[in-house]
Symmetry: C2
Subunit: 459 residues, 2 copies
């Protein structure tokens, strides 16, 4: 069957049997697509998850409800079995309504509240902090101006680079300020930090998201400001002296007891070879986690549903996983990998959907050039569904699988990225901002690649 993997340009030379095989795949993928685009339930399930359960940070009652809902739903769809994998997760609480304000400009008092959200994992301010603002555009500038920082609030102008067409690239760059800006400023004596929200939206919604402290320095409060307010603050700070206030309430409870939800269809031919797909069930507390990652959850469930609907019996064992905790700990993914190791499971392919429920553009696969070239012979099968196979992909939850077996192939659904960071970690990430056809089309592509991997394996 090696012919199958020859480059497409050689297709005319293929045997008749090969062409017939390709037609079978094309027809089967169309059958799944038609079923999903006509009768798919991902959108309805997303409504339940977002509107009936809501925001579901690890450790919250909503996350417990989401696990119960996920298990029940996967059972109803018809998995061979559904089981939970217990894990401990961080248990961060926002603790109150975050507050930030400009209270003085060039020595003149004013009270100008700023749209603000404390960063996830950041600790509360223990009362109101009031200090002058040192506004910097980079860590280099912070280092250069370190003498000014003691006793001040550092503001990082962490705007996205709008010229990056792939918004995840801009996020990767600006994200450093959110992730580690607090301790870098605390090192020089800052009493709090504020960042420009990691946002592409032309609005004033603040975006939260994970941060962590360097244990060597004081754990100062950290907030993200709404983009409009942040730009205004930065412009004012360029011209004069700004005094600001910050008050936050974040704290940790002891680690929570959470669960991955794993649905399984046992393989008919190679039950010891595992294919996994999934997303993460947790979300931030301030929104419904509709795109992040409700979309990945319900797409995963839809792939199970369509397999049952078209009566597909996989050769290999397939796991449909709702990971317990990605946002502020990746504990769900770590536990799934841990169990795979303990059970000596042979995982050949792991796919995550965690970049939003937008129109799919590709399935990104991290594999050797030879493997990738083989996978890319399937591109004609994906093109009708707005997708193709591209190089490089994975997901935060599935990264730990490389610790089990370096040969495991990681992949990620890559949707169009233009709108993701308008909503990501902001209170606007709600059901209403998910489009039904875009969401379902993502599930079509996930079903297609899982089918192809199941049928042909990875070598």
């Amino acid at each position: 069957m090696k012919l199958r993997f020859l480059p497409l340009l050689l297709l005319p030379l293929f045997s008749r049997a090969q062409t017939a095989q390709s037609n079978v795949d094309s027809l089967f993928i169309k059958k799944m697509s038609d079923e999903i685009m006509t009768n798919g339930t991902a959108y309805d399930l997303l409504y339940e998850l977002t509107k009936k359960i809501g925001g579901r940070l690890a450790g919250s009652p909503q996350q417990q409800n989401a696990v119960i809902w996920g298990k029940k739903s996967l059972e109803a769809i018809g998995a061979d079995k559904v089981f939970l994998q217990a894990c401990k997760t961080p248990n961060w609480k926002r603790g109150g309504t975050d507050f930030a304000a400009i209270v003085g400009v060039n020595g003149v008092a004013r009270m100008q509240p700023l749209a603000a959200l404390a960063l996830g994992n950041s600790l509360g301010s223990n009362g109101l902090i009031e200090a002058e603002v040192v506004a910097v555009a980079s860590f280099d500038e912070l280092d250069r101006r370190k003498e000014e920082v003691k006793g001040k609030i550092v503001y990082y102008h962490s705007v996205f680079d709008p010229t990056k067409i792939q918004t995840f690239k801009a996020y990767g760059e600006s994200g450093a300020f959110r992730r580690s800006g607090a301790s870098k400023a605390a090192k020089y004596g800052a009493v709090a930090v504020m960042i420009h929200s990691l946002s592409t939206a032309p609005d004033n919604e603040p975006h939260t998201g994970s941060m962590s402290y360097d244990e060597a320095y004081p754990k100062i409060p950290a907030v993200a400001l709404g983009p409009d307010d942040a730009k205004m603050l930065y412009a004012l700070a360029k011209k004069g002296t700004i005094k600001a206030q910050v008050q936050t309430y974040g704290f940790f409870l002891p680690d929570a007891d959470e669960n991955n939800v794993v649905a399984e269809i046992r393989g008919s031919e190679f039950p010891d070879q595992f294919i996994t797909l999934g997303g993460h069930l947790d979300s931030w507390d301030v929104n419904e986690g509709a795109h992040d990652d409700g979309a990945g959850i319900v797409q995963t469930m839809e792939v199970l549903r369509v397999m049952k609907a078209v009566n597909y019996k996989p050769k290999r064992t397939i796991h449909f996983v709702l990971f317990a905790n990605e946002e502020n700990g990746v504990r769900g993914g770590n536990e799934y990998a841990n169990q795979a190791k303990i059970n000596k499971e042979n995982h050949i392919f792991v796919l995550e959907s965690d970049e939003g429920g937008f129109t799919p553009r590709s399935i990104g696969i991290t594999a050797s050039p030879t493997q990738l070239a083989r996978f890319q012979t399937w591109n004609p099968l994906l093109k009708p569904y707005s997708s193709e196979i591209t190089s490089g992909g994975g997901g935060t939850d599935i990264g730990p699988m490389l610790g089990v077996n370096k040969a495991t192939i990681l992949a990620g659904l890559i949707p169009d990225s233009q709108r993701y960071f308008d909503l990501h970690h902001a209170k606007t990430d709600v059901f209403e901002n998910v489009n039904k056809r875009e969401l379902h089309l993502g599930a079509v592509n996930m079903a297609a690649i899982i089918y192809l991997i199941d049928k042909y394996g990875v070598k």
Copy 2:
């Protein structure tokens, strides 16, 4: 310079000069993209057009305002000259608040109003029409059941085929019921028609849109129902006898005096060769025409802006056209073609953006296979901007240009189509449903193709 057009696979064989040339293009396109993604004003202009002017059907005061706004804006951006092309357009008025309701089921009275909009160009009902409903799924079914139709209201279950991944294909199919369903039913004695809105949205918004009458039959009223109501009506009609009411108020005033707005940059080397890009200024009356076609209008203006911003002096004469009337007459496009004919202009390439301001997927070009293959050697220049050149493209406004010169190459910006028919011709086609980055990325691709055509010509 023919080497430039060799298939990409042969790129390694290119001369050093050729590679340098390609780098020049790549850098120049990046310069335009960076400028648009950073300082683009299309989104702000769209705000003005949608929120300050609003819905602008040909013949409305808003459309007059839009022409003034368009001319002023294009002059402010810095066209060599901006001129108007007068044309007569249809002048249809909705005339009132369209009404439809179920008033009886199996002989039992009920009053259940239905979300409804009269179809554009349809005539009013002259009072309230009450009649039984004959619900059909196709023209074939209508023909088979023609004996039942006399004195009845025909309902067409013109749902989109959800399995068509390219939604324009589904629109092309279901659109026939909107365009010609009234007269086909009137032929058999129907007193009114209702259709399922041409919509992909999981909601109940009715979508209007153009229809026309066959002069041979009575001009009966025609309404589009909201999708939820339409499905409910169809389900009821399958089981029993439905009585319904329809009242509409549509009428025509004498043709209106409208104008195309044409901005020009004179070519420096080949001023007698014309390249045109544009969209249509008019919209339906019930919405802001944000995607249809405010997006195409402001993208066109953005291409002019970026050329001025980066100081690009085109070799060929470029026309940036805001067409006066597409929705219910195509009179703007006809007049533009008419003027081109009268002035014996040599138009080499005409591009329209009228499929919404969504993430671009390709520039569709209608050209000979040889020409297309040449254009597609530019794909590596467009890929970084989420696009490529594909076969087949144009637009309703620019179609008449083929009547001037069959060799004119027509092209269209082809954005992602998943969301377009959620909004198209419904009151939800508003500014808030346009994404800034997606809109601007479309303009990047339009600027890129216009630049390449201007620089290299079409042969």
